[in-house]
């Protein structure tokens, strides 16, 4: 090259120089893929026809086995002409066309560069054997007068070769060959040989080939006294080849075939100046071993032995290829085990390995095939698929050599598997024809039309892997779970983390993983994008089905929201330090904060005004705590329509690493950036700082008080605080609950929970008020114990205060009553569906007394534990009501008998609500689901009869009393704990005003709520059950109604029994029934309105509820 001349490197088909790291390589033989000219041999035009299939499969790089002219005594690895195409497969023009077509589809192409040896038919060898000894022509190969040189080199093809030397009668010398005797090794001690090899390489790279697989590279150079493998001179040759590639070309790749231990393969990467890729041979047999032994150790062991490789390099990993499943890189014991485990028939064995395809090796078990492919796609390296394995093709162990895994691709169930239209006798190899593996059973066409086929599964998995660069480029870390049948590892790249968990066992397995380093993150199952529970500090439990696997993307727990930047430097918020609230609450800073608050509030889960347009958001009151580090702010939000709301917002400022962490992991909690002399920081939700949370707890524990503009914030603990707190030495690290909607909760250790009420209303919060009353003034213990609260008291001492936060003891439980009851119902339906429905013998208009007395025994048998639970719940509900009515001297809790005036008002209110519900039903009649129309029509026709129920209220002489009630009572508000129930959440209907929620009412309103909840549970569980067993739909409905009526009756019986002669409920059963029916109808109509507006598919539940009211 002349001085100053610029060498233009020839680009490859892709611009990313590291493309091979993200590739999915598909290995195929042109001969075996598709025959276009019906001569029984696959060819390039045939391969071109199938490129759309390969593109659709999603592979990105095609690796072609040798397609050069050859006597074909070693499947084409015996090349007789390096720069041409075997005429059976087409012409060099056909190859060029194939290359262009592949590139047009975004596919790269890798071909073989077999440089260790040629065929003995190659002109170089024919010339060499005829040339005089010592001549340059003769020196193209390795000759010797004796067969005793290089004696330390092992024989590789032990089944066919006895020596690495073969006598050539024409040359009158021995020639060297590491493989078959018809494959003489080239002599790289002759510089001309390297020149020729490089010129062959350039020939193909100039055509546009993207990658070269260097075959058998450990054996290029021989030296006496060595095993003639991996010699330093060999590495020198590879560097020269690589340099020639780098000097002239861009975006190309060399893949080394070196069947060696990882530490011996490592030098083939050099310092990134030898091969770009190398096969990881020892990993492959160990994957099979781990699977059969149901133990991850073989895999973790070999990965531990695998050294790091240069950044630009990559391992090539595979499950099967065109050769035998090689067992060279395992110990003798392991080899014996593998033979026993995977090659029962000796014909399955060849050389030092097993000549079988993937699916037969795994006994055609789909789960095993999927599991191994999931490992292939998620282990570090570039996965290489062998043609046909994507459809689970079989093999033919009765064919010689390794030809049993090289049979024609099975495209269709037509003649010759759609591979060729030639006479079957003319095929280069018989197609697989046995009943299990034959092409009629396993072929591409059939699997393309089967949505659940292995082919479609593979296509989806390939597409998924391609979405995540972390699989090709990320780091790997194994997680040492106790259960060794489970393999768990974490892949990580630039903050992207994927947790892979695989069950190597044929049975379901549990595992608990230490993911505490990722506490707060949410694992999202990657195939279905399903969120799993957030990671905590405790071991993370998972259960995997037989051969199951999970890919979980670890996502930040908080949605990452970019904090809007102020648009100009003059609009930045400047503060002196983290306590400088003046600059944020007044003047220019105050205005900026007000500008930012609406957007911030819209992002918060607890903000209830998302459907309304915010006009303004202003800090109307504040108090400082934690020595001024946390600001408790009351923000008044004005909307374009409707009343304003006030929200409680603790705020904090953080700088340095704390600010960075918040931006990275909890961006949603950040209001905006702030700037101090120490640099940039963030203004954020104060609860994100542990110290602020602890300060709130301390405020309760120590009864602290802080001033605000118009009042005082007071902490106050209950007399049970110490009992709830337990031993302070146990640690009280705050942990935020992320799933909550309208409030914010913080756990302190596993004993206490603090609930911060976000939406503030004047007056005591009923949850706090009732929790405190029950805990401190009554003996009722089936509630979460009240530990204390933080209250705001306005100056002047009137009733203008509000509850800011409440502390409770944590109740250990088995889930809420709703989930528990659904599980019980599932068992109930399972046992009932085949049984005969018992005769009830009750008339449609049976009285409550009759219903209570007539619970059929068989219903008790089937409903089992849910009947007992209903009884317990009835008892606890009554005890709750008795406790709430136990203090006649407390003005907020004193019971008062319902008089005539109360009943008239109640009737009017219920009639008004019912009328609205009936009108809504009528207006929506046309939109109802088909299965609800009839019931809706019936109800509308009975409108006046139903309304009459309310008029009977005013005729009651004894209607019981008004007391404080739960207010929003249903199965979701109770916890199942130790065979009993604990009642929670006394906040009342969130949509109602505080005054409405604190108003005294008949306790039967709660009872009606629970009765309706039973109805919902019965229907919901039935829908769930029917989804699995649609054929049983007809039988289930009467059983559902039986369960509902029996459980309701049992609940009411226990409630009345516990209530005894208390005057808070009507004394007569008739009076009780009138009240209950009125409240149940009211509740069902409320549900009806709700479902019409939100879930029309569920409208059948309240409709049926109204038709079958107790």
């Amino acid at each position: 090259m002349a001085t100053g001349q610029v060498l233009v490197k020839k680009p490859g088909s892709t611009t990313d120089p590291l493309w091979y790291k993200d590739a999915i390589i598909y290995e195929l033989h042109v001969r075996a893929f598709h025959d276009s000219n019906n001569d029984g041999i696959g060819d390039f035009p045939g391969l071109i026809e199938k490129l759309d299939y390969l593109q659709d499969l999603g592979v990105t790089c095609l690796w072609l086995l040798p397609f050069f002219p050859s006597p074909l005594r070693d499947d084409g690895y015996d090349i007789s002409d390096y720069a041409s195409v075997n005429p059976s497969y087409g012409t060099i023009e056909d190859f060029q066309r194939f290359l262009d077509e592949a590139h047009a589809r975004g596919l790269q192409v890798m071909i073989e560069l077999v440089i260790n040896h040629t065929s003995d038919q190659h002109p170089w060898f024919q010339r060499a054997r005829q040339a005089p000894a010592g001549s340059p022509e003769r020196d193209f190969y390795v000759w010797s007068d004796t067969d005793q040189k290089y004696r330390d080199a092992r024989i590789i093809f032990t089944d066919t070769e006895k020596s690495n030397w073969t006598w050539d009668p024409m040359a009158q010398q021995y020639y060297w060959h590491r493989f078959f005797s018809h494959q003489p090794d080239l002599n790289f001690d002759n510089p001309q040989v390297l020149e020729e090899v490089i010129s062959v390489m350039r020939f193909w790279l100039d055509m546009g080939v993207d990658g070269l697989r260097l075959d058998a590279i450990p054996y290029l150079v021989e030296r006496d006294g060595t095993n003639c493998e991996n010699l330093a001179e060999t590495h020198g040759l590879i560097r020269a080849i690589r340099k020639a590639m780098d000097d002239g070309y861009l975006g190309r790749m060399i893949l080394a075939e070196a069947n060696q231990w990882p530490e011996d393969v490592r030098p083939y990467f050099g310092d990134g100046d030898e091969c770009h890729m190398a096969f990881h041979f020892p990993l492959m047999p160990r994957i099979y071993m781990a699977l059969r032994q149901e133990d991850r150790l073989p895999i973790t062991d070999i990965i531990a032995q695998t050294p790091d490789i240069p950044e630009s390099c990559q391992w090539g990993i595979f499950l099967r290829n065109h050769d035998e499943l090689t067992l060279e890189m395992v110990s003798e014991d392991e080899r014996d085990y593998m033979y026993l485990a995977y090659s029962a028939d000796p014909r399955m064995r060849i050389n030092i390995g097993i000549r079988r395809r993937l699916a037969p090796l795994l006994d055609n078990n789909r789960r095993r095939i999927e599991l191994l492919n999931s490992l292939l796609f998620s282990f570090p390296g570039t996965p290489i698929l062998y043609y046909g394995d994507e459809i689970g093709m079989g093999d033919n162990i009765y064919l010689g050599d390794r030809n049993g895994v090289r049979t024609p691709m099975q495209w269709t169930a037509d003649r010759n598997a759609g591979f060729s239209r030639a006479n079957p006798a003319r095929l280069y190899s018989p197609v697989i024809m046995d009943p299990l593996w034959g092409y009629e059973a396993i072929n591409v066409e059939a699997q393309q039309s089967d949505a659940s086929s292995l082919l479609n599964w593979m296509r989806n998995m390939i597409a998924l892997r391609k979405l995540f660069q972390v699989f090709g480029r990320g780091s790997l870390k194994f997680l040492e779970a106790e259960n060794r049948k489970v393999l768990a590892y974490l892949r990580e790249l630039d903050g992207e983390r994927v947790l892979c968990v695989a069950n190597l066992s044929r049975f379901a397995q549990p595992v608990a993983l230490d993911l505490s380093a990722y506490a707060g993150m949410i694992p999202v199952e990657m195939l279905g994008y399903v969120e799993f529970p957030a990671i905590g500090s405790q071991p993370y439990p998972l259960t995997l089905g037989p051969y199951g696997f999970l890919w979980l993307e670890l996502q930040p727990g908080e949605e990452q929201v970019e904090v809007p930047q102020p648009v100009a430097a003059e609009e930045r918020l400047h503060v002196k330090d983290e306590r400088d609230w003046d600059n944020l609450l007044t003047g220019r800073g105050g205005k900026l904060v007000e500008k930012l608050l609406p957007e911030f509030m819209q992002r918060q889960r607890w903000f209830g005004g998302k459907s309304r347009s915010i006009v303004s958001a202003k800090v109307m009151e504040w108090a400082l705590m934690e020595q001024g580090r946390t600001l408790l702010a009351w923000v008044r939000v004005e909307f374009s329509e409707g009343d304003p709301d006030v929200y409680l917002m603790p705020l904090g400022m953080s700088f340095g690493k704390e600010a960075e962490d918040l931006l990275r992991h909890a961006g949603n909690s950040v209001v905006t950036q702030v700037f101090s002399k120490d640099g940039a920081g963030v203004l954020h939700d104060g609860l994100m700082r542990d110290r602020a949370c602890s300060a709130l707890l301390a405020m309760i524990a120590n009864g602290e008080r802080v001033k605000s503009q118009t009042g005082e914030v007071r902490g106050e603990k209950s007399r049970f605080f110490e009992e709830i707190e337990g031993d302070p030495a146990e640690g009280r690290l705050p942990r935020r609950l992320t799933a909550e909607q309208s409030n914010s909760s913080i756990f302190f250790g596993d004993r206490m929970i603090l609930k911060l009420f976000r939406r503030q209303q004047n007056g005591p919060n009923p949850d706090t008020e009732i929790g405190k009353f029950l805990t401190e003034k009554t003996e009722f213990r089936n509630v979460a114990p009240f530990g204390g609260s933080i209250e705001f008291v306005r100056h002047g001492g009137d009733n203008e205060g509000a509850t800011l936060a409440m502390l409770q003891g944590v109740v250990q439980n088995e889930g809420d009553g709703w989930a528990w009851m659904l599980e019980e119902l599932d068992r109930y339906y399972e046992s009932s569906v085949a049984a005969e429905l018992p005769e009830l013998g009750l008339a449609a208009g049976a009285t409550l007394r009759e219903k209570l007395d007539e619970i059929p025994e068989s219903a008790r048998e089937h409903a089992g534990i849910s009947m007992e639970a209903a009884s317990t719940l009835g008892r606890r509900t009554a005890e709750l009501h008795l406790a709430l009515a136990s203090d006649p001297d407390d003005p907020d809790f004193a019971p008062a008998l319902l008089d005539g005036g109360d009943l008239v008002a109640l009737q009017a209110e219920l009639v008004q609500k019912a009328t609205r519900a009936f009108d809504a039903l009528k207006a929506n009649l046309a939109r109802l689901p088909d299965n609800a129309v009839e019931a809706a029509g019936l109800i509308l026709s009975r409108r006046s009869t139903l309304l009459e129920r309310f008029s009977r209220l005013t005729a009651l002489g004894d209607a019981g009393a008004r007391i404080r009630v739960h207010g929003d009572y249903h199965l979701g508000q109770v916890l199942r704990a130790k065979g009993d129930f604990v009642i929670l959440d006394f906040e009342g209907e969130p949509a109602h005003t505080l005054t409405e929620r604190r108003a005294e009412q008949s306790p039967l309103k709660d009872v009606a709520g629970m009765v309706r909840s039973f109805s919902y549970a019965a229907f919901s569980a039935m829908s769930h059950f029917m989804a699995r067993r649609p054929a049983d739909a007809q039988k289930l409905e009467p059983w559902a109604r039986l369960w509902e009526s029996s459980v309701t009756a049992e609940y009411l019986r226990a409630y009345r029994e516990t209530m005894g002669d208390s005057r808070i409920v009507p004394q007569t059963i008739e009076g009780f029934e009138v009240m209950l029916r009125a409240f149940t109808l009211d509740k069902a109509l409320y549900e009806l309105t709700y479902e019409l507006n939100h879930r029309p598919d569920w409208v059948r539940v309240p409709l049926n509820g109204i038709l079958y009211l107790p």
Binding site: A451, S452, N460, A463, L464, K466, L467, F468, Q469, E496, M526, L527, G528, Y529, V530, Q555, E559, Q560, V561, E562, P564, Q565, V567, A568, E599, R603, S611, S613, S640, N668, A926, R927, P929
Partner: protein
């Protein structure tokens, strides 16, 4: 002038003016003399910190024989650009090719900022040039997208599909992801202009791909839509089909984002133009109802049973009760995007099958919006965009595991 001469001219310009501050490019045929003088006036009156002569270059598509005309006096330098090659037909494809050509030229001359102006030159005014150019020249963002002042029922393809889909997927709250006018920084022009042509240019999506800062400005400009006169299916094919292609191409990126992030907005929204024209929804509903009878088989190849059931219910509704829920619409769009990728049916038929569904949405929207104030209309659009965001996991899961056996 041959292409090489343009290149040489460009090079010369670059060398002579090492600090070109602003390149203004126009994406259609214009009179260069008129263009030059209007650009000079707009820049001079814009109060941008640039001199029309020397620091400003005006780019136009050029004609045979056109060359570089250096600036003199107050006149900026005029350079012809070469639109990027495109195989796509349709007005937006041509506009995108021109936009790419302008960005490429801006990168070549190393302009600090580049303002792309639609062919009608309506945005070539002092106030709009200032609004678009200032945030880029102030280095506050790499891309400034316009928010045009529209009539109540204008730009409904954008309202129904482009905006909510692009916003949910690419996590940038950009009101108009396909715009005739926008401004870009030097680094944007360098990175995006150099990219091979891949269909329409979605400036904000390209910025999101490169994690560049995006801002928006309210522009008191009203353009004639480039798709005027085309039938609806052709519009959907050319615009929505192009967006679906972009979605397919960028799948690895958009599946990472979880929530749409706000972008800074400059300027005050203009008063919504109120047209006297009323929209007759009945024909749209009838078109939807007819399609629900005739296209049921096609829809079954694209939509899951639960959506089909909802559509059946909807087809039975009286016109005054006809309301397509946002959730259903969002999922329909997502299912069509997926079917476009999977080629479940030919893409031509697919977009044809989307047309009556879109009309159904328009009918539903028009009935609602007709009773709303301008502010409520904005809120309503926001509500739709949030429905797309909330249902994004639905698309991700369907995309990752496109099993026909789904609810």
């Amino acid at each position: 002038m041959p292409a090489t001469d343009v290149a040489a001219g460009t090079k010369m310009t670059t060398e002579q003016n090492s600090a070109i501050e602003l390149l203004i490019g126009v994406t259609g045929d214009v009179n260069p003399v008129d263009l030059r003088s209007r650009a000079a006036a707009a820049v001079a009156q814009s109060s941008l910190p640039v001199r029309a002569s020397g620091q400003v270059v005006v780019a136009w598509p050029g004609v045979e024989g056109a060359g570089v005309e250096s600036g003199n006096g107050s006149a900026p330098t005029l350079i012809p650009y070469r639109p990027a090659a495109t195989n796509e037909a349709g007005p937006w494809a041509q506009i995108s090719a021109a936009q790419r050509g302008i960005l490429t030229l801006a990168a070549e001359v190393k302009a600090a900022a580049c303002i792309v102006i639609g062919p009608d030159l309506k945005a070539l005014r002092a106030d709009t040039v200032h609004a678009l150019g200032a945030p880029v020249l102030d280095r506050q963002c790499d891309l400034v997208m316009p928010i045009y002042a529209l009539e109540r029922y204008e730009g409904l393809v954008n309202t129904a599909i482009l905006m909510p889909l692009a916003r949910a997927l690419y996590c940038k709250r950009v009101q108009m992801p396909l715009a005739l006018d926008f401004a870009a920084s030097a680094s944007y022009a360098e990175r995006i202009g150099a990219k091979a042509n891949r269909g329409l240019l979605w400036p904000a999506i390209a910025a999101a791909q490169e994690t560049m800062q995006v801002g928006q400005v309210h522009l008191p400009v009203r353009h004639q839509t480039p798709m005027e006169g085309l039938d609806l299916t052709a519009v959907l094919t050319q615009i929505v089909g192009a967006l679906f292609l972009e979605v397919e191409r960028t799948a690895a990126t958009w599946q990472r984002g979880r929530s749409a992030q706000p972008t800074p907005v400059w300027g005050q929204p203009a008063q919504m133009h109120e047209s006297e024209e009323t929209i007759e929804v009945r024909p749209m509903i009838e078109s939807f109802q007819l399609a629900s009878r005739n296209l049921d088989e096609l829809w079954q190849l694209v939509l899951p049973p639960v959506t089909l059931l909802e559509l059946r219910h909807l087809a039975r509704c009286e016109p005054e009760q006809f309301k397509m829920a946002d959730r259903i619409w969002a999922r329909i769009v997502y299912d069509f995007a997926l079917a476009h990728r999977l080629r479940s049916i030919s893409r031509v038929h697919l977009m044809g099958a989307l047309t009556p569904l879109y009309l159904g949405w328009v009918a539903s929207y028009v009935q609602e919006a007709s009773m709303m104030t301008a502010e409520q209309v904005v809120q309503r659009q926001e509500q739709l965009a949030r429905a797309f965001e909330e249902n994004k996991p639905y698309l991700v899961s369907r995309w990752r595991w496109p099993d026909r056996f789904n609810p």
